[in-house]
Point group: C2
Chain length 241, copies 2
Amino acid sequence: MRYRGVVSYDGTNYSGWQKQPGRISIQGLLEEALFSLTGQHISVTGAGRTDAGVHAYGQVFHFDCDKSFAWFARSLNSQLPADVYVREVTEATPDFHSRYDAVRKHYRYCINCGEYDVFLRNRCYQLGHPLDVEKMREGAALFKGEHDFTSFNATKLAEMANQVRTIYSLDIREEGNLVILDFVGNGFLRHMVRMITGSLIALGLGNTTLEDLEGMLNAADKEACHQNAPAEGLYLVQIDY
Amino acid sequence: MRYRGVVSYDGTNYSGWQKQPGRISIQGLLEEALFSLTGQHISVTGAGRTDAGVHAYGQVFHFDCDKSFAWFARSLNSQLPADVYVREVTEATPDFHSRYDAVRKHYRYCINCGEYDVFLRNRCYQLGHPLDVEKMREGAALFKGEHDFTSFNATKLAEMANQVRTIYSLDIREEGNLVILDFVGNGFLRHMVRMITGSLIALGLGNTTLEDLEGMLNAADKEACHQNAPAEGLYLVQIDY
């Protein structure tokens, strides 16, 4: 039986989604929890990798298991630390694939423009400076739609076949001292959200111009962008199928 | 020169405000930071003790120091961990006393009635059940005004001279799945906010009645109340002088 799960996690204490030798990852924790429950080595496949320190409300994963549990999510949570929580596990069709079947992903980036806040540490980029949000919205408009995002891709393989992605929406809102960016797209390259966010922050601080940003995007050049907003402000919110 | 400081802290990793041998406390961290800056052993006095796991937005403290620093708060923060943040240090009158001069204290208690949330762990009581908030407001009305709060006092010394306190306001609001209680009073006994909150939660769950609560309050009996909401939901918000 193939299962589909949704997991939320505070990424602060982890090396990211993907298993790595000698590091504690979310994928690794889930596989260990499945082993504790079933006694079987079961591989877990996630919809997307999140880097060290990046958070998730709704990461989606799938796995195959020939056992059934009445309260599968609850059983897994009993084996997981308090900062990783499986929200649901449901039966899926045998060909369901968490990564290939995803049609839309939603990421959020949170910036604290106000005074340092102990309760937001590791949860926000604590910038501590005001931002020109109206200017950032003008910049965000440049990125909407289908573009070659090579300039905003941290993957070392320069010859990735396809670096064209579509951003359906990039909304920026203010909540008190917070500035919150919501990205919805058909997929995102490595560090793409953080690099675009870093560039929009530079714009909001007056350190760059709309023209520079447009030039950077059109260049489709991996050397064009040196901005990368810190991991702790990024959240994988939701994946649609 | 006497100084007045305001400090915020995430209490999760600490044994509370008060110095204790072999434990890490907020008072101890501040005194160590002052020692690092000045080379002197300087005592710090706080407006109120917070227990292990309890948080503060605006704990107030005072200390005497014959040195002056242009950026006193910033200098202290450079010596403090990321979950403790001195918001300000200002010169005070020589007779200012953070505890004796306080006229009003504001505490907040946060309850998550929704699904377990990894981002609220250690920041909320994760109850995971709906509450009858209207009923809780009726209960809260019982506690407003001046009362002998002996029934809601965890201090072991049964012969505390005065257990009469005044609660100026006890407001309960809902924010999504959160239920947030705001207590403002002239002072609070040990565990008083948590014991009242625990009793109001029991009321909101239908596990007790308004009559029981009224009887508990009027009994002025240290054995009357066995409710004590967990420390992690409690915040010392502000102290007025």
